[in-house]
Amino acid sequence: MSKLDQTATIPASFSERHAGRIRQMRLYGHMFRGSFSSMLGLTLVGIFLILAAVGPWIVPFPEDTLGAVHMGSRLLPPSTEHWFGTDEMGADIFSRVIVGARTSLWIGIVITGLGALIGVPLGIIAGYKGGFVRACIMRLTELFLAVPGLALALAIVASLGPGLTNCMVALAIVWWPGYVRLVEAKTLAVKEELFVESARSIGAKTPWILWHHILPNCMSPIIVKMSMDMGMAILAAAGLGFIGLGAPPPAPEWGAMVSVARSYMPDWWWYSFFPGAAIFLTVLGFNLLGDGLRDILDPRSRAR
C-alpha cells in the first residue's frame, strides 16, 4: 500500500479516454437517424432555433417588427414582395413571424427552465427524504395540479397585470408540479439501487448522493419532458397572448398576432394562417423531438 505508484500514466488522448461515451453517442445518433419522425422534429426545431438566432438580420422589413406603420400597403395578400402578406398596419407578416421565433424561444426556455428549476429539486428531495417532507411537497404539488393550469395562469396574470414577463412567471408557476411528479417517481426507483447504498456506506452525505448519484440517473426523463414542454409552453404562452394577456400589440408574438387577426377572418386568411402555422410547426417539432429522445434514452423501449 505504501508503494504508491507516483508516476501517473500519461493521460490518454481525448478519444481514448472517452471511447465509451463516443460509442454511446454514435449509437444514439444511429438510432435517431433511423426514425423519420424524430428527424423531422429535429429539422423543425433546428430551423426554429436558427431563425431565432439570426431572425432580425435576415428579415426583409426589420422596422415592421418594431411597430412601423405603412398605411399604403394594408392587408395585402401574399406576393413576391410580402411572402406572407401584410397586416392591418401594413407591416410585413413574414418579418413579424420570423422575428416572433425569438420571443417564442425565450418564452419556452424561461418557462420550462423555471419549471424544472423549481420542480426537480423539490421532486428529488421529496423522493429521497420520504415521510413528512415528501407528504408536504407532494400535497402542495397536488394542490397546484388540481386547478387547471391555464386557468390558474390566467388568474395569476390577471392579478399581476398583462405583459410578457408576467405571462412567463405565471406559466412557470403552474408548470413546476409536473417535474416534481416525474422526478419524485424516478428518485423513488433510483434510491433503491445498490450504488446509492454503496455511496452511503463510504460515508457520502445526502447532498453528495443527490447530486452525484440520483440526479444524473434522473436526467433522461427530465430532458425528454423539457423538450416536449418547450412546445407546450410556447402553445400556452400563445394562448395567453391570444386572449390579450401576453406581449403588448406591437411586439411580434405569434399568439397576439393570431388574436388580432381573428377579426380579419376569413377574408384576410393569411394574417392568422402564417403565425398559426408557425405555432403549429414549432410545437410539432418539439413534440416529435421529445418522442425521439424518449425512444433512444428510455432503455425499456430500446431494441438493442
Binding site: M1, D5, S198
Partner: protein, 550 residues
C-alpha cells in the same frame, strides 16, 4: 426407442448489432437421443441460452442463421414460421426458466395458470377444449407429479404464497402440461437455495425416468449438471469445446477450458489448505483482539397484517482482528439485514454494536461518517452497485473525494494504484461499468471498498452473482488482498463450500437466529444441529457429483 430426437447440425447464428454482426454461435453440433439428458455447461455469455432459445424458436430478435440447421424429430425447424411453431412450442418442446417468480403471473391462481396452458394446448391440437373439471383434475395430477403436497389446495393459491422451490415445481408442472417430448431447463436451480436446489434436481431426475422425458439442461454449475445429466457439452465463447458422457468429460477433460472450469469448483470435502498451514505455526498466534462486536442485535419489521416479524433476532457475535468470519444461511435467514446493521446502513431496533471498543450503534451525523472510513461493504451484485453514469475512475475515487482532502491529482494517482492492486489495467479508469464483465466489476467494487484503508470489510455474497470460474479468482484475490492490507472480513454466503475454504469461524443463521456457531472446521466435521447437518448434506450432493467422477 433410441432414435434421434434433436439434431443440431453445424449451426451458426449471428446477431446484428450497431457495431456490426456478432457471431454468438459457431458451428454447433449436438445430437440428443430420446430419453437422454444433456447438460450444457458454460459461463455467462458463452451462448448457451441463445442456443436453447433457438431450439425453441425464440432466439434474439435480430439474429440470423448463418449456416446449418436444427432438426427436431425428423422435421427441419430452423426457419419455421409461427404457424408451424404453434404445434411444437410448449407442446412437443417446453422450457423452464431461471427465475420462477417472473414467469408466473401474480394475478392468477396457480391452478388457473396451469389449466390455461392445458386449454391452449388442446386448442392448438385442434381438439375441443375439455371441461373445467377435467382440466382441474389434470392440473392436480400434474402438481402431484412434480411432488407438490396437497394439490387440491394449491390449485387456488397465488404465486406469492409459494416458496421459490415450489414455484419452480409449478413451472415444471406447467412445462409438462403438453406432455412434451423435449424439456429444456435454463438454469433451473440458480435462483434457489442449496437445500431446494438438491430437491429440484432430484425431481428432474425422477421425471426423466418416470415419463421417459428428454431433457436439455443448461447451467453454469457443473455440480448440478453432473447430478442430472448423462451427457454433457461444454460451451465457451459460442463454441462447443467438448462433449460426451458426463462421467468421461468430468473425469478426463480434454480441453483446457473444461479443466479450468472443474478446478474452479470449490470442494466442500477438502480440508482447506489454510488449516494445514495454520497447524504448523499454531503456537505463535497472538491472543485474539476483538474488532467488531454485536450484542443482542434485533431488527423488527412490521408486517402488513399488523404483526411483527423479526428479521434478525437477538444476535450476538464478535469478530477478531485479522480473521475471516463467516455467516451462512438460506435466503431469508436475515444474513443481509445483519450485515447492513453492522455497518449501520439499517438502523437496529435494539442492541449495541461495538467497533474497536467504541459503541457505534448510537452515533449519528459526522462521527458516524468518520467511522465509516474504517468499515466497508462489498455488495452481492456488482452490476447494480456501480453507478452506470460514473466512470470506473470516478467510482474508485469517490470515497477519497468524500472522506479526504486529497487533490484531484493525488486521487488520480491513488486510483491507478488501486486499480493495480485489484489487478486491472490502468486504462480502465475511463471505462464505464457496462463495458466490464461481472468479475471485473466486483474487483472495482473491492478497489472502491479498500480505497480508504479500512480495517474491516463486510462482504455480502460477493461471488454469488458471478460465474464459478470467476468466483474462484475473486476468492483467491480477496485472500491475497487481506494478507497485503491486514484486513478483517465478515463473509456472508449461502455456499458452504466457499465458507469452508476461507472462513476461520462461522455462524449458521436460520430465520434471524443463530443456530450454531464456532470454529468452521468444527461445524463442518461435527455439526451439532439438525439444520446445519441438512445444509451441509445438500451442499454435498452437487459438490460430490462433480467430484466423484474426477
Amino acid at each position: 426407442m433410441n432414435s434421434t430426437l434433436l439434431d443440431i447440425n453445424a449451426y451458426s447464428l449471428g446477431i446484428g448489432t450497431f457495431d456490426g454482426p456478432i457471431h454468438v454461435l459457431k458451428d454447433i453440433n449436438i445430437t440428443v437421443k430420446r430419453g437422454e439428458t444433456l447438460g450444457i455447461v458454460g459461463e455467462s455469455g458463452s451462448g448457451k441460452t441463445v442456443l436453447v432459445r433457438s431450439v425453441m424458436g425464440i432466439g434474439p430478435s435480430n439474429s440470423r442463421v448463418q449456416a446449418g440447421h436444427i432438426t427436431f424429430d425428423g422435421q427441419d425447424i430452423t426457419r419455421m414460421n409461427d404457424k408451424g411453431w404453434a404445434k411444437i412450442r410448449g407442446i412437443r418442446i417446453s422450457m423452464i426458466f431461471q427465475d420462477p417468480m417472473t414467469y408466473l403471473n401474480p394475478l392468477f391462481s396457480i391452478g388457473r395458470q396451469i389449466s390455461d396452458v392445458i386449454a391452449a394446448h388442446e386448442r392448438a391440437a385442434g381438439q375441443g377444449i375439455s371441461s373445467k373439471a377435467m382440466r382441474r383434475s389434470r392440473t392436480q395430477e400434474l402438481l402431484e407429479q412434480v411432488g407438490l403436497p396437497a394439490p387440491a389446495q394449491l390449485f387456488d393459491q397465488y404465486p406469492h404464497q409459494l416458496s421459490g422451490g415450489m414455484r419452480q415445481r409449478v413451472l415444471i408442472a406447467m412445462a409438462l402440461a403438453g406432455k412434451p417430448d423435449l424439456l429444456i431447463a435454463d438454469e433451473p436451480t440458480t435462483a434457489l437455495d442449496v437445500t431446494v436446489q438438491a430437491q429440484v434436481l432430484d425431481l428432474i431426475k425422477s421425471l426423466v425416468k418416470k415419463l421417459n422425458l428428454t431433457v436439455i439442461m443448461i447451467s453454469h454449475d457443473i455440480g448440478a449438471i453432473a447430478t442430472v445429466a448423462s451427457k454433457c457439452a461444454v460451451m465457451y465463447k459460442g463454441e462447443i469445446v467438448e462433449q460426451g458422457d458426463t462421467a468421461a468429460v468430468l473425469s478426463n477433460p480434454q480441453h483446457d477450458y473444461t479443466r479450468q472450469l472443474l478446478a474452479a469448483v470449490p470442494d466442500i470435502e477438502v480440508t482447506p489448505a489454510r488449516l494445514l498451514a495454520k497447524q504448523a505455526v499454531q503456537d505463535v498466534i497472538p491472543a485474539p483482539q476483538k474488532l467488531l462486536e454485536a450484542v443482542n442485535l434485533r431488527k423488527v419489521y412490521k408486517t402488513q397484517a399488523g404483526g411483527e416479524f423479526a428479521a434478525v433476532d437477538n444476535i450476538s457475535l464478535s469478530v477478531n482482528v485479522g480473521e475471516i468470519f463467516g455467516v451462512v444461511g438460506e435466503s431469508g435467514s436475515g444474513k443481509s439485514t445483519l450485515a447492513r446493521m453492522l455497518l449501520r446502513l439499517i438502523e437496529p431496533t435494539s442492541g449495541d454494536i461495538f467497533f474497536e471498543g467504541q459503541d457505534i450503534s448510537r452515533l449519528r451525523g459526522e462521527p458516524l461518517r468518520q467511522i465509516r472510513q474504517h468499515m466497508q461493504f462489498v455488495f452481492q451484485n456488482p452490476h447494480s452497485a456501480l453507478n452506470g453514469r460514473h466512470t470506473i475512475g470516478d467510482a474508485i475515487g469517490e470515497p477519497l473525494r468524500i472522506q479526504t482532502t486529497m487533490s484531484r491529482r493525488d486521487i488520480d494517482v491513488r486510483t491507478e494504484a488501486l486499480l493495480d492492486i485489484v489487478q486491472l489495467p490502468k486504462s480502465f479508469r475511463y471505462r464505464y461499468p457496462h463495458e466490464l464483465s461481472g468479475g471485473q466489476k466486483q474487483r472495482v467494487c473491492i478497489a472502491r471498498a479498500i480505497a480508504l484503508n479500512p480495517r474491516l470489510l463486510i462482504l455480502d455474497e460477493p461471488t454469488s452473482a458471478l460465474d464459478i470460474s470467476v468466483q474462484a479468482q475473486v476468492l483467491n484475490f480477496l485472500q491475497q488482498v487481506r494478507k497485503e492490507l491486514n484486513l478483517t472480513y465478515v463473509f456472508i454466503s449461502h455456499d458452504l463450500a466457499v465458507i469452508r475454504q476461507i472462513c476461520d469461524r462461522t455462524i449458521v443463521m436460520k430465520r434471524g437466529k443463530i443456530v450454531e456457531q464456532g470454529d468452521t472446521e468444527q461445524i463442518f466435521l461435527h455439526p451439532a444441529e439438525e439444520y446445519t447437518r441438512a445444509l451441509i448434506e445438500s451442499g454435498r450432493v452437487t459438490s460430490r457429483a462433480a467430484r466423484l467422477r474426477a
